[in-house]
């Protein structure tokens, strides 16, 4: 009888939850790798090739965080998540950071127990139609059937736009990304709607003939995409935030993956602060002085990450547009690293 009581007590202790606030950085350092939640397969943002190597903009952001905290951009465990699972995975502690083309909205910020650390990609929702439907504007899609993936901001935006323009569009909602693509390309729906960057990625990768599909010019919503972390751990939140800002500052001051070693010898005090030669800003974050140097050396600055994954020379061929630095007419503006 006492043995059974002891087992029972041990079981109860095992299933009781532990608080996560304030301990993420220690957990990551102890574990020796960063657990990053990414998309199952979105070319340009997070996708794996046949050998299991992950590439993409969101993937590179996670690599930069890992390089900053752990010293090696390869010390990341990738957890592919679909749209319905992603927030629960972050809330429950299954992943440390969610870098999965997630839109920053009020509902998500305020009621899900997470915090968005910044905007890594300014996007908008758009439509894709087959060229042979002769539709050139979203306003012509009266009564159209539109393929949508479940669990995203897409459905609400589609409905808002449809009501505002009196279009009566009918959504057909699928659970998985693959099913949505299949339904659109088989002709079940007259249009496909998701973020414009996602449309470019899908058209490029999934269509038999990408030129048979047209991405309509209208952007019907604002979709600021960025990484998210759990609420309650301000230290880790600050670190993730400032790693991304450091990547932007580096591009602004001309530090690239190729010249970062020479830049270490630079006499410019701003560059010195970023790379840790003139001042140790990392200590304030709980990291060491090379906290920004390592991501820049191993992954590159924001511009290089953009060009490599989604830029005009990549298969997605997306223009810098709103994602350019503020000094070049875009919206990316990082607070100074000082």
């Amino acid at each position: 009888m006492r043995g059974k009581l002891a087992i029972g007590a041990a079981l109860v202790a095992a299933i009781s939850g532990t608080a996560y606030a304030g301990k993420t950085l220690d957990t990551i350092k102890q574990r020796g790798e960063l657990v990053c939640g990414v998309n199952t397969n979105l070319a340009g943002f997070s996708s794996a090739d046949s050998q299991g190597n992950w590439t993409g903009l969101d993937v590179d952001i996670c690599r930069a965080i890992a390089a900053s905290i752990l010293g090696d951009a390869k010390k990341v465990k990738w957890v592919p998540l679909n749209a319905s699972q992603r927030f629960t995975a972050l809330q429950s502690g299954e992943v440390d950071v969610l870098s999965r083309n997630t839109t920053w909205t009020l509902t998500r910020d305020a009621s899900l127990g997470l915090e968005f650390t910044g905007i890594t990609y300014f996007d908008g929702q758009g439509f894709m139609v087959p060229v042979k439907s002769k539709v050139t504007s979203a306003k012509q899609l009266k009564g159209a059937t539109v393929c949508v993936q479940s669990g995203t901001t897409t459905e609400k935006n589609l409905n808002d736009y449809s009501k505002a323009n009196n279009l009566g569009m009918k959504p057909v909602v699928f659970e998985t990304f693959e099913a949505t693509n299949k339904a659109y390309f088989s002709g079940r729906c007259q249009a496909y709607t998701t973020d414009a960057s996602g449309l470019a990625s899908i058209r490029n990768k999934e269509a038999d003939k990408p030129d048979d599909h047209l991405i309509l010019p209208e952007l019907i919503s604002k979709e600021p995409l960025g990484p998210a972390v759990r609420r309650g751990d301000d230290d880790f939140f600050t670190i993730v935030k400032w790693v991304v800002f450091a990547l932007l500052e580096a591009e602004e001051y001309g530090i690239t993956q190729a010249n970062v070693d020479q830049m270490k010898a630079s006499t410019d005090p701003v560059v010195g602060r970023i790379l840790g030669t003139s001042e140790d800003t990392g200590k304030l974050l709980g990291l060491d002085k090379d906290w920004a140097y390592r991501p820049l050396k191993q992954v590159g600055n924001y511009g290089e990450i953009f060009e490599r994954n989604v830029g005009p020379k990549s298969p997605l061929k997306l223009p810098r547009g709103a994602n350019n630095l503020w000094s070049k007419g875009g919206l990316q503006y990082a607070p100074p690293v000082r």
């Binding site: 629960t88 305020a110 009621s111 059937t145 459905e155 609400k156 409905n159 009501k163 057909v172 699928f174």
Partner: protein, 390 residues
């Protein structure tokens, strides 16, 4: 004669008292565990800043639903969206149950046929559809439907105002007017009339031996009742026709590929299980019954219908109840092929409001209610079937 029962004593040495104490302790333990789980969940959610509560049900949904029996506008509440989802699930579950039973019974009886071809075909059907996972079957049917049907701009028009395309089968439907209640009332009166006819037919058969037909006249009476009701309601005949616009066909009623996929997939899958249950039930009837029926000179079809099936029903109904429950719950796979059932609506709600636990608890409650209702009805029918055998 039974032994006299021991009186209840408030002492540990009385077995009844001990049993009572253990039962109370077990109930308290379960309640305490449940309270601990709920309390722990709520406390953790509060610590992490995750909001909870069912108040989101009163807020406007903000999303459209692609097909439903009733009108739904995105400015209506989440609660109404859940009701629409539930109606979609019930629609596919009820039609699926009826069709699966019919098909399953036919195939189950077919497996016992003396004809080699029928027996083999039914056997092949059962083995194929029983052994492939349902999700794969649903994907296969959806793929077939969406690939084979013509695109919307080349829609087939077999009859004027009826369109057949990847959007499904679109046809004119009556516009709902209050007068249609008379049709329902008339059909109900027709049902009473059909029941009365059935009783009359049975008395006539038992008294004189000549059996007046039952099924067709009963159906005719119900339809006539509905028609009279329609006339009484002022003959409302406004129809909503599907219209061809520049890019699509709008209006009218539709049987969409999604609904067809879920219906066909569920029906064929569940029918294969029901076929085996029916076959097992018929084979469970004593062989003497078959010999007696043969001695009476009954044809094989009469034998199955009048002798074997009624007796097999006692063995068939409990497992078939499980299959009905399975079909209802398997309809939740509809979200994989784009049919807006209650799971699909709850996933959308969950993602828009963030209330994961609340949304899933609502869905669980709905499925629990549907299952308990189905089981209760089938158990009542089971008791009736058992008594009737005598």
């Amino acid at each position: 004669m039974e032994a006299p029962s021991k009186p209840f004593r408030w002492s540990w040495r009385s077995a009844k008292f001990r049993a009572l104490v253990y039962q109370i302790a077990a109930v308290l333990l379960v309640v305490a565990a449940g309270w601990y789980l709920v309390h722990n969940t709520l406390a953790n959610m509060r610590v992490r800043g995750i909001q909870s509560g069912y108040d989101f049900l009163r807020q406007p949904a903000g999303f459209a639903i692609s097909e439903s029996l009733f009108e739904f506008d995105s400015s209506e509440t989440y609660f109404r969206a859940f009701l629409i989802g539930l109606s979609n699930t019930l629609r596919v579950a009820i039609v699926g149950i009826v069709l699966a039973t019919l098909l399953g019974a036919l195939i189950g009886i077919g497996r016992l046929s003396r004809n080699f071809l029928i027996r083999s075909l039914c056997g092949a059907y059962v083995e194929t559809f029983r052994n492939v996972p349902l999700l794969l079957q649903l994907f296969m049917w959806y793929f077939i439907l969406t690939e084979l049907l013509p695109p919307i701009d080349e829609a087939l028009q077999p009859i004027p105002h009826v369109f057949f395309s990847k959007n499904g089968l679109q046809y004119p439907i009556p516009v709902w007017a209050l007068d249609h209640v008379w049709v329902a009332a008339g059909a109900l009166v027709g049902c009473v009339g059909a029941w009365a006819w059935r009783r009359f037919a049975r008395h006539r058969r038992e008294a004189s031996g000549s059996a007046p037909p039952v099924v067709l006249p009963a159906l005719a009476i119900v339809l006539a009742g509905g028609f009279v009701g329609w006339l009484a309601g002022g003959a409302p005949s406004a129809l909503d026709f599907p219209e061809k616009t520049e890019i699509t066909v709008v209006g009218g009623g539709a049987v969409t590929p999604e609904f067809l996929t879920v219906l066909v997939g569920l029906t064929l899958y569940t029918a294969s299980y029901i076929a085996e249950i029916v076959r097992g039930g018929i084979q469970a009837v004593a062989h003497g019954q078959h010999e007696a029926a043969a001695a009476l000179g009954l044809a094989r079809s009469q034998e199955v219908r009048l002798v074997l099936l009624p007796q097999a029903l006692r063995v068939i109904i409990p497992p078939i109840t499980s299959q009905y429950l399975n079909l209802t719950k398997n309809s939740s796979l509809a979200v994989a092929v784009g049919y807006p059932d209650i799971v699909s609506i709850s996933t959308t709600t969950l993602n828009q409001t963030g209330r994961a636990i609340e949304a899933i608890s609502i869905v669980m409650l709905c499925y629990l209610t549907m299952s308990l209702l189905t089981a209760t009805i089938m158990n009542w029918y089971n008791r009736r079937a058992a008594i009737r055998e005598r």
